[in-house]
Amino acid sequence: MAGRQIYNPDGFKNVEKDGKVCGFQFQFKLQYYRGITLSIIRDIKVVIDGEELPREAVSITVNGETFTLEECRTVVSPLYRWEFGEFATVTAAKEGGLAKGPHHICVLQHIAPSYMPFPIQSTCEADFEI
């Protein structure tokens, strides 16, 4: 049987800047039970086809605003919570983006709710096609 859906199946795509493909995007849901301020995101570790991308390459978009992981550390506004049950868009910088065809993605969502003695690390894997 199949479990819950984590990724938006229609969310995988390459992104362009100034006419050049400079990375790719995906959309996924928070693996927790309430919405969070972006400030408690410790990491979103992206591994694409076995290649781990540097932390600096990753940014997250909620409610139309984009923040690098470093910037997320101070984002506490109610306007930019990662709402429970909603997709956040993650953009990963990667020269040339992803080639046409099948890919495998493995992302570690690492968040630190204040009351938990240990942070929550969720591994989110999917196969998709560009």
């Binding site: 819950r4 039970y33 969070i36 301020t37 709402e83 003695p117």
Partner: protein, 353 residues
Amino acid sequence: MSEIKRSVSLYSYQDSYYDGKLDLEGCLRETAKAGASGVELLAETMIKQFPNPIYTEEFQAQWNGWLQKYKLTPTCYDAFLENRIYDNRMLSLGEQIEMMQRDLKCASILGFSCIRTLVSTPIDVIEGSLEYAEKVGVKIGLEVHAPFSLNSTWAQGYLDRLSGNDSKFNYFAFIPDMGIFCKNIPDVVADKWRRAGAKEEFIKIVDDAYASRVANGFTKIEYSLNLGQANMNYRNANGLGDLTEKFKSMGASPADFGYLNASYTYSWSDPQDLIDNIDRICHTHAKCYNTHEDYVETAVAIPEVVAAYKKCGYDGYLSTEYEGGECLRDHEIVDDIEQVRRHQEAMRRAIEG
């Protein structure tokens, strides 16, 4: 006739909400359909851009309209004291009190008579918020969640500081979570680790050890601001260290260890603890993991807890908090609506029977 009332915590519907099958109003509709008269809210889960909408007349009118439409009473507002909202420091005491007052205010606006605060809440934050709690008429309920327990040095630590003649102390209370009354480890937990590869001989060792802890009594957890350390001490005092060594020597797999460690998140307290503390109990989380078709919960001692509450005349709510979905959602779509319905019926039978 018992005055015990039934509520549903919307935590229970997290999977249907996550999948987009239920929105906030849908959760209230299902709560009423399941037979509950009360509702418990996690504002940070189901109110987008929390807490902003709560302060608007538009949302307040909508919320009150739903309560009327579904004939529901607001029972408890679950607060999350995000005191590590920044990664480089803990919020100051003043900032934490400010945050708790925000939640008390939101709870009051939405008509709740108590908030749930988590086991990790520093005593000073509760103490510093009590005057405001009295002012808005909302109690601060400290959740007593496994592995914590009533009648422990942990609970006594709060009582020592938060009791006295001043009327504000009437605004501190406990919210027992019925996960502290588990007679065995929930079946869905064992099944989850079986799917991951745990072997029957190891599952039996874990189950037998749990039964022996229930029979002989658990060593209780101590009050500490370092919850990680307190939890490790608690686990080892209850035999985890010895079992870990035994598992190693028997060549246990990661899944066998997974089940062993999971077993330490459940606990058993004597329901007499409820009677001893009845004057300090404002609400109850009726935790459940898997209620079978015959309305028997896999692990939680519903009849024993209800009997204890009847004995001492509890007239508050038992609020269904379905948590079994976390064992299922990697593998199947969780039917939380049916689980809540069954659990409400199980409680109704115990209360009215």
